[in-house]
């Protein structure tokens, strides 16, 4: 197992190097002159040139790249021009917000989609199966900003069940002491149950929005892979040996059906990180997505590079986790390593 983790990490290094190069190049070829943007509309040519020299943008590209990489090696991602804050600090402050939202949405989606998919496969052609098809179709066809706005309209505006969609915590509460950066976990560690309740209330509607989007692929994949496993020969053997339905479905069929579901999960997680940008906008969520979009609009290099790099590292970790999950579930994957 350790060998597997080691080899996967080693193969990730070239892709991370590629990401560093490509993001650097991409941000330089983007239209828009950073120096001119920050000098303001009334700036003279001299002041623009002065800013350019200050930012190091007058140097040739290879020199800029060497500067960037050597700073990166020290953990310095540069500073944002619009906020003046170091990018590393901002990302580490905002990443937990996005991660908490995405994970909450994903766990919620899993909790609903997997049992639903199993039921739909076991009782193929029943009302559960038809309901599954209906919900998954709705889930993929409704865009997240629409479901988000709809949920806000219903639960906040009409019913008043949900708090105002304004960030991670109501203004009357202060954020719990940072341990993990996840408000739900941090408030529990601090034994501050009021804050926990408030954070949960803020999180609920955006997480449901993401879950509706993530539900469809997970439920469909669970159903399809359960169906194929249920018709396989070893399930027939298990039935012929008189094992109970629960044992056959959970221990024999579902564990085998999980492999494609785990793969889908990785893909869904990356979709969700993308979908996050819109959800964060709708719910004024102080996440990493909205931060990156604002930086991109103002040609603010450092945050964009930092964002892409953070995402790339996140994907590498995610894929590693999926590979490990594969190894845990399937002994054949273990032995191939």
């Amino acid at each position: 197992m350790l060998k597997l983790i080691g080899s996967r990490l080693a193969t990730a290094v070239p892709s991370l190097i590629g990401v560093v190069i490509v993001t650097f190049m991409l941000t330089r070829v983007l239209p828009g002159d950073t120096a001119a943007y920050f000098a303001g509309p009334a700036a003279t040519a001299e002041s623009i040139a002065e800013i350019r020299t200050k930012l190091g943008l007058d140097k040739p590209l290879p020199v800029q790249f060497v500067d960037y990489v050597s700073a990166l090696a020290k953990g310095d991602l540069g500073s944002s021009l619009s906020t003046g804050q170091p990018v590393a600090a901002e990302i580490s402050a905002r990443l937990p917000a996005s991660a908490e939202l995405t994970l909450a949405g994903l766990i919620l989606a899993l909790a609903i989609a997997v049992p639903f998919g199993i039921m739909a496969a076991v009782k193929q052609g029943s009302w559960v199966d038809h309901a599954c098809r209906l919900i998954t179709t709705a889930g993929v066809s409704l865009p997240v900003f629409f479901t988000g706005l709809l949920l806000v309209y219903v639960f906040y505006f009409k019913l008043g069940w949900a708090p105002a969609p304004l960030g991670r915590l109501d203004v009357f509460f202060s954020a719990p002491e940072t341990v993990t950066g996840f408000y739900l976990i941090d408030s529990l560690i601090a034994r501050d149950f009021e804050t926990f309740r408030a954070a949960l209330a803020q999180l609920a509607v955006p997480a449901i929005t993401l879950a509706i989007f993530a539900l469809a692929p997970i439920a469909r994949m669970t159903r399809a892979s359960m169906l194929s496993v249920l018709s396989s020969e070893f399930v027939r053997t298990a039935r012929a040996a008189g094992l109970t339905d629960t044992t056959v479905i959970i221990t024999y069929a579902f564990r085998n059906a999980m492999l494609p579901v785990v793969t889908t999960l990785g893909m869904v997680f990356s979709f969700l990180l993308g979908a996050n940008v819109l959800v964060e906008k709708v719910f004024a969520w102080p996440g990493i997505g909205s931060y990156a979009v604002e930086a991109l609009i103002t040609s603010d290099y450092a945050p964009v590079q930092g964002f892409v790099l953070a995402m790339a590292i996140l994907y590498v970790i995610l894929n590693l986790l999926i590979d490990i999950a594969y190894g845990v579930i399937d002994p054949r994957a273990r032995s191939e390593a």
Partner: protein, 593 residues
């Protein structure tokens, strides 16, 4: 009963009425709901199985033999249902019993072993736990002693090092070992009835013998009754007390095993009997008796024995294929790649890194001769034929074909080499080897279009029609797609495609392994006729010595990449010199006639 203390209530009940049969099936009719309406898979089947008796159900594909056995255990899939009739198992009405009662019965009182043992086991659960699941389910063990009991049953099915194998996954075990695990699963409790559904299909003959002997011994020891479902009459004859022959969902004949072979009553049984390859017969003997053939043998192509005599008497003049010192090595699975070990500066000794699939073999095929390449799976026979076909490159050695050294041409270039026309192949699985989106006509035309210089039109159609006629494929079937053809018809398409370019050498890779015996008989005869007519040579790759003996002039027996024996078919089959060949021949079950 057999000194067993923990006899279950069910078993105790049956021992009170020892006179009645264990299993009785009366007028059983099973129907399947399909998209095209209701299909009757089994109709009016009657069978009686006494305690300790072994009944063989024999039939070809579609005869309903598997459906009958699945119905007895009530594990038909959703679409199937019992339309009529009754099944009584030790006094219990199986057809109407509640599902919970059936679940208790399955595995504890009646159990099943399946064909394709590897697929029949959960791939991601250790075999020990799979057996343990069954014992725990039927309260034959509890959490504390389950491992002990599983190891005990593993010992009974002769698994070497059972403590170690307890932790093994199916993919870590050989096919024969997986079948032992499936048997252990079936015997995990003390069932009274064992249903064996083609338990040895896909296993080598020697493994088949070991597995069947084990099943017989264990069931006899426990006084169990057995239903053996098989397409192989020889197997049924060797292991059953009574044989029941089924055709198209109906029972055509039931009789004691020795009588059914000595004196078959039904014409279908006779046809099956004749089609089963056995020692001391010729190819023509496999075909059903036809008055025309027996009345006027002279008008037909020369009988095989005569043809053989001619081939034998004719001086061995022209060597078509000469294989010299052929070697094929593969990196051993699981060994670190050369790149990685090079990186780490470690070098494993060569015998650990390299596996020799073909180990320095030499043989020749003469013009117009058929040579059989026989051996068990993994002996290197398929690798050899693939190298001769020039689909892969040999590690060392020389292959000359019609005087030209074809081993010098890289495999990737050979597809475009003019020599490619002259070596063709018929593949093992007639379904898998045809493009599902090509009609039979297009499939046969394929080599003509690629290498035959044809470009469509009437000339091509005429040639395809000719070929179809040669292989006995009715012209009206040429428009059909593979899924609309029967197994035998697909085999004919495959053969027509192989002979389309008038090759000198045809490599036959177990061309009849996936076919029913009666179809196999026809296809083997067709191959023989075509050889006589077109003067081709055959390299026939097979694991079945009897089949090879019928078609081939010479036989080469391979084991572990080496040739252990080579000689004329008659000599190898009747007076084998090598111990391994003798073992192979002895392992083939055949009717007692």
């Amino acid at each position: 009963m057999h000194g067993n203390v923990d006899v279950t209530a069910q078993a105790a009940k049956t021992s009170e009425t020892p006179s009645g049969p264990l299993l009785e099936v009366r007028d059983l009719t099973v129907e399947f709901a399909t998209r095209r309406g209701v299909v009757t898979a089994v109709s009016q089947v009657n069978l009686t199985l006494a305690k300790g008796e072994t009944l063989g159900i024999v039939g070809e594909s579609g005869s309903g033999k598997s459906v009958t056995s699945y119905t007895v255990m009530r594990i038909l899939d959703r679409a199937g249902r019992i339309a009529e009739g009754s099944i009584t198992f030790s006094g219990m009405d199986v057809a109407h019993a509640p599902e919970s009662a059936m679940r208790d019965l399955r595995g504890r009182e009646m159990s099943m072993i399946f064909q394709n043992p590897r697929a029949a086991l959960n791939p991601i659960r250790t075999v020990g736990r799979q057996i343990g699941d069954v014992q725990l389910q039927h309260v034959q063990a509890d959490a504390r002693n389950v491992k002990e009991k599983v190891i005990d049953i593993l010992k009974q099915v002769r698994i070497a090092r059972p403590e170690e194998r307890y932790q093994a996954y199916p993919f870590e075990l050989s096919g024969g070992m997986c079948q032992r695990i499936v048997i252990a699963l079936a015997l995990a409790c003390r069932p009274q009835l064992m249903i064996a559904d083609e338990p040895t299909t896909g296993l080598d003959v020697t493994t088949q013998k070991a597995v069947m002997d084990l099943v017989t011994e264990l069931t006899r020891e426990r006084g169990m009754s057995t239903l053996l479902i098989t397409h192989d009459l020889g197997l049924a004859a060797a292991y059953c007390d009574t044989v029941m022959v089924m055709e198209k969902g109906k029972v055509v004949e039931t009789a004691p095993a020795e009588r059914i072979f000595r004196d078959p009553q039904h014409p279908y049984t006779r046809k099956l009997m004749r089609a089963t390859p056995r020692p001391g017969i010729t190819l023509r003997d496999l075909l059903p008796e036809e008055p025309a053939v027996s009345a006027a043998p002279a008008q037909n192509p020369p009988p095989q024995s005569e043809a053989r005599a001619q081939a034998a008497s004719a001086p061995a003049t022209k060597v078509l294929l000469q294989v010299e010192n052929l070697v094929k090595e593969y990196p051993r699975q699981g060994a670190p790649s050369a790149f990685l070990s090079g990186l780490l500066g470690k070098k494993a000794p060569p015998e650990e890194r390299i596996f020799r699939a073909v180990d320095d073999i030499s043989f020749a095929v003469l013009k117009g001769e058929s040579v059989g390449l026989v051996g068990e799976s993994g002996c290197g026979k398929s690798t050899t034929s693939t190298i001769v076909m020039r689909l892969i490159d040999p590690t060392a050695g020389r292959i000359s074909f019609a005087g030209e050294d074809i081993s010098a041409i890289p495999a990737k270039d050979f597809a475009h080499h003019p020599m490619r026309r002259r070596i063709q192949m018929v593949f093992q699985d007639p379904t898998e080897s045809l493009n599902p989106r090509y009609t039979a006509e297009r499939a046969i035309a394929d080599p003509l279009l690629r290498m035959g210089g044809f470009s469509g039109g009437a000339k091509l159609r005429a040639r395809v029609a000719d070929l179809a006629e040669m292989v006995g494929l009715p012209q009206n079937l040429l428009e059909r797609f593979p899924h609309q053809l029967s197994g035998g018809q697909k085999a004919r398409v495959g053969i027509a495609r192989a002979i389309a370019l008038d090759p000198d050498l045809v490599i036959l890779d177990e061309p009849t392994a996936a076919l029913d015996v009666s179809v196999q008989a026809v296809v083997l005869n067709l191959l023989e006729d075509l050889k006589q007519r077109l003067g081709m040579s055959y390299l026939f790759v097979s694991h079945d010595l009897h089949v090879v003996g019928l078609l081939c002039d010479r036989v080469i027996v391979m084991r572990a990449g080496r040739i252990v024996e080579e000689g004329s078919s008659q000599q190898v089959l009747d007076a084998p010199k090598d111990a391994y060949t003798r073992e192979l021949i002895a392992a083939i079950p055949h009717p007692p006639v």
